[in-house]
């Protein structure tokens, strides 16, 4: 049995250069810079603010990965459910469920768990277009609970999950009228891949899954009267199998181990990973008894994860891009129109295009989706909260790097401090990361240092000299829209504009 990768659009997007297969999954103990820290935060979460990156960078590789795998401190006290009045109203239910999850991605202190929840959502791709919103909320909870647990447990749980029973019709699967939909997708999409089972295996697995259904209130139930307890032959084994037996047999297939490890590597490391890399991780996965925390931990600690070949080697998914942007900009609440923007970017949460999930990789990138990314950035970053009336603009510093007369200590009250912040405080969806933060970080209104701060904060200096010069020209440009060079009267607009440009650079499209 072997993996069929013929339909994976990510084939062809493996980074150039050879894999050092013998040591690829060994622990990385090399340099650990801000760029390494930012890479870890992006892949194992949704990115970080400059101060989060700095804090992580100071730990070194081993402790940094530990802190990602085993976060200390309490989780945010999230409500178990969205407001029922909104969740059960036909007009508001879908957006309510979707925003409830996006909010969790934005504010969680367990970003890796939420990232793995997103991974499993793409894997067990279930859509709110067919399934009631409340069941989607419960399925996402199930995925979160098992996100870094045991795959066998996860697969048994998802097989009994009401949203899945509705989505793939196992609710209608009974011994008189078998419905093969779920049994087929378990093997094709969830655990083995095409070519590794026969039509007879599908029929027998469907019989094994009979009896797992939902009652009138859409709660999961097992109805023995509907279950076919006759003998079955499945993947070469015979017995009066039930659903859990089928899951056990699937998990024991070496091709399953490679199937799931390949998908994890494509999510965390790079597209179309080498067979030797997949084999190596599959051994870890099998030895651990399908333990996902150990398997993902092995990836995150590895040489290949921190290699230059893996660095910015994957395109950000729209959700990674959006939540990463909101986190970087310190936005405290997901803007309400974000769902619409995610549709335009090609990844509406809880609404994958089919049970195959999102293809990802190159399919994230086209003119329509890129323009949606660009214009979402422009809209968010350039949307300034109303300036408090008492605020006076800061003064220009000297033109040399050492003559910073305007510092954080002497700046007038900005939009995030002082007394006149009523309008801004109410506007939770405006970025809290403001031009004044950049000015403070730069030690004053110096165009060169402001630009350096912007490029460091947004893309960890992953730009060429040409790009830096182009951005510097923008700050000093005297076009009709911004008639004067960078200065006290226009620094807010100029910094917002430069921030947006930096966030729209190719480097920020890459994870």
């Amino acid at each position: 049995m072997k993996l069929d990768t013929s339909t994976d659009p990510q084939v062809g997007f493996r980074p150039p250069g050879p894999l050092e297969a013998a040591t690829a999954l060994d622990r990385y103990d090399g340099d650990f810079t801000r760029r390494h820290a930012a890479h870890l935060l992006r892949r194992a979460g949704f990115g970080g603010t400059p101060s989060e990156i700095d804090a992580l960078a100071s730990l070194g590789a081993s402790a940094a990965v530990d802190s990602v795998l085993h976060p200390s401190g309490d989780e945010v006290a999230f409500a178990a459910y969205p407001d029922p009045a909104l969740l059960y109203d036909d007009k508001t239910r879908n957006a309510t469920a979707q925003n409830w999850w996006l909010d969790r991605m934005l504010r969680t202190r367990r970003p890796l768990t939420e990232k793995m929840t997103l991974f499993w959502h793409g894997h067990f791709a279930t859509s709110i277009r067919k399934v009631p919103a409340v069941l989607m909320v419960e399925q996402i909870d199930l995925l979160r609970t098992n996100a870094l647990g045991n795959f066998r447990t996860l697969l048994v749980s998802i097989s009994k999950d009401p949203a899945m029973l509705v989505w793939l019709d196992n609710r209608y699967n009974n011994k008189l009228h078998p419905n093969e939909n779920y049994a087929r997708e378990v093997m094709e999409l969830f655990a083995l891949g095409l070519g590794n089972y026969t039509e007879d295996d599908v029929k027998n697995a469907a019989r094994a899954f009979t009896g797992w259904t939902v009652d009138k209130s859409l709660a999961a139930v097992y109805k023995p009267a509907l279950h076919d307890d006759g003998p079955k032959t499945f993947l070469g084994r015979s017995g009066p199998f039930g659903g859990e037996d089928v899951v056990d047999i699937i998990a024991q297939q070496p091709v399953h181990q490679r199937f799931i490890c390949r998908k994890l590597l494509e999510f965390f490391v790079y597209s179309d990973p080498e067979p030797e890399l997949i084999e190596g991780l599959a051994r870890t996965y099998a030895l651990s008894g399908y333990d996902l925390a150990q398997t993902v931990g092995t990836i995150l600690r590895s040489n290949v994860f921190f290699s230059t070949r893996a660095y910015r080697a994957l395109p950000k998914s729209p959700i990674e891009f959006t939540i990463g942007l909101l986190r970087l900009m310190n936005v405290s609440e997901v803007p309400k129109d974000t769902i619409g923007w995610l549709q335009r970017m090609g990844q509406e949460p809880m609404a994958p295009p089919s049970v195959k999930g999102w293809d990802g990789g190159p399919t994230w990138i086209n003119t329509a989706t890129l323009l949606a990314r660009f214009n979402y950035v422009n809209r968010l970053v350039k949307a300034a909260p109303p300036r408090p009336p008492s605020e006076a603009p800061p003064q220009m510093t000297g033109t040399t790097a050492t003559s910073a007369t305007m510092t954080a200590a002497t700046m007038p009250a900005g939009t995030t401090t002082g007394t006149a912040m009523t309008a801004a405080a109410a506007a939770a969806t405006f970025p809290a990361f403001t031009p004044d933060d950049i000015v403070r970080q730069s030690g004053g209104l110096n165009a060169g240092r402001v630009l350096a701060a912007i490029v460091a904060d947004t893309v960890q200096d992953d730009v060429t000299g040409d790009v830096r010069r182009t951005l510097a020209d923008y700050l000093q440009s005297t076009g009709a829209s911004l008639p004067t060079p960078f200065g006290p009267e226009n620094y807010q607009e100029k910094i917002r504009g430069a921030l947006a440009l930096a966030l729209n650079l190719p480097a920020n499209q890459l994870n």
Binding site: I365, L371, N378, S477
Partner: protein, 423 residues
């Protein structure tokens, strides 16, 4: 081209469904031989696909007015015999569709009756996927139009070696081969290699930085100046971003020379058709345009809602056809409707209809062989209370692929479903 011609001449023998043709057209259609495709197919032919989202009720679109069963199961929402725009002694159009009826009388409209597929799905989401991917049995990642574009447009996406396009005034080339008018790319237009722009509004299609024009200029420069990257994704992003940054300006510049010859109605669907005519007229290499109108999901109070939408459809298409004709472009465009399902035969308790199965499709264009294709589905020989389909939707797709776009249908659609003689 010679390969394509050879293919077409081989497949001309495919069985076609006989049309039931209105009497005033019958002689003309019967006398007209099938066009010699090899010589008449224009490589610039454009297919306009119109999605009627939500599930359009076919029985109140093409009305079987002489069938007593129709009036019996639809006592409130049924259309009275005297109101119908009669096509023959059995069927007629909803009276709000008079502008389309005019085109029908000119022989520019084909109606394909009873279109569907085996084991019909009644979920909006799943049925839409089935129609848009033309793959009822297995989920596939790319739409039927996307797969066509992948076959005919040189790969742009894996185009790492492709030199950057000149930024301004250049030939837009392949980037407008398929165009969606709307905010998101529908499943039908999702391609593996070909980039399908989604144009919500022509004037805002592009990089929007508000009053800050310097930002837009700079953004374009940043991507123009980008070096070829090492990561395959970096090259893809840079190439795509250049198209995204400049495509709108190129398109607007090209379109500026095209003046719409008619005044379009003000509804959003007609606004899309107005842009579609501009895109066709501008000559930007477009093969497929996708537009949509909805929602036809008329579970309650159907008449008001469906009549309004069918009115938009008919007046919009009439304006579009007239606009094209004024520019002598009517023979280069073929418009085709679809909907994810028809609706149940009987009205429900809310004077609406619930999700059903087969429905009629409309094909409009200067080269269309006007008439009615296939019999109206029986209202008594039903499948679980729903109409039985007679024509597989994939045969309609195969027809436009083969006989309009000159492409081997088996290259795009799995299985052989024959064709329909409407073009």
């Amino acid at each position: 081209m010679s390969k394509r011609r050879a293919f077409i001449s081989q497949t001309l023998g495919i069985a076609v469904l006989g049309g039931s043709v209105p009497s005033f057209l019958a002689s003309a259609v019967d006398a007209q031989p099938l066009p010699q495709l090899g010589t008449t197919l224009d490589p610039d032919n454009v297919l306009l696909v119109i999605q009627m989202g939500g599930g359009n009720d076919g029985l109140n679109t093409v009305v079987p007015y002489s069938d007593d069963n129709y009036h019996r199961v639809r006592p409130v929402i049924g259309i009275a015999q005297g109101d119908v725009l009669k096509i023959d002694d059995r069927i007629g159009l909803n009276p709000v569709m008079a502008p389309l009826d005019d085109l029908f009388k000119e022989g520019k409209v084909a109606i394909v009756q009873g279109v569907g597929y085996p084991n019909p799905n009644r979920s909006h989401f799943e049925a839409t996927q089935i129609w848009e991917t033309a793959s009822p049995e297995n989920p596939v990642s790319y739409g039927w139009l996307g797969r066509y574009l992948d076959r005919v447009v040189p790969a742009l996406k894996i185009g790492a070696a492709k030199p950057p396009d000149p930024p301004q005034g250049s030939d837009p080339g392949e980037i407008f081969a398929g165009v969606t008018l709307g905010d998101t790319v529908p499943a039908a237009m999702i391609a593996q290699h070909v980039d399908v722009p989604a144009i919500g509004a022509l004037n805002t299609f592009g990089y929007n930085s508000g009053k800050d024009s310097a930002s837009k200029t700079t953004a374009g420069t940043l991507y123009d100046g980008a070096r070829p990257g090492q990561s395959p994704y970096l090259s893809l992003i840079e190439t795509t971003a250049r198209n995204a940054m400049h495509g709108g300006d190129v398109l607007r510049a090209k379109i500026a020379s095209f003046q719409n010859a008619v005044t379009y109605p003000s509804d959003p669907f007609s606004a899309q058709l107005k842009v579609a005519a501009q895109i066709v007229g501008a000559g930007v290499g477009t093969r497929i345009v996708f537009v949509s109108i909805g929602s036809f999901d008329t579970h309650a109070g159907q008449r008001a809602q469906q009549d309004r939408l069918l009115g938009y459809l008919a007046t919009g298409l009439h304006a579009f056809y007239s606009d094209l004709a004024a520019h002598q472009l009517q023979d280069r465009v073929l418009a085709m409707t679809f909907s994810e399902f028809g609706r149940r035969v009987a009205q429900n308790a809310s004077n609406g209809t619930d999700h059903g199965t087969a429905m009629p499709l409309f094909i409009v264009g200067g080269k269309v062989r006007g008439g009615v294709y296939g019999d109206h589905p029986s209202l008594t020989d039903l499948d679980n209370g729903d109409l039985k389909y007679a024509t597989d939707f994939r045969s309609v797709y195969a027809t436009v692929l083969e006989r309009w776009l000159g492409h081997d249908p088996s290259d795009v659609i799995a299985g052989n479903f024959g064709s329909v003689a409407f073009v």
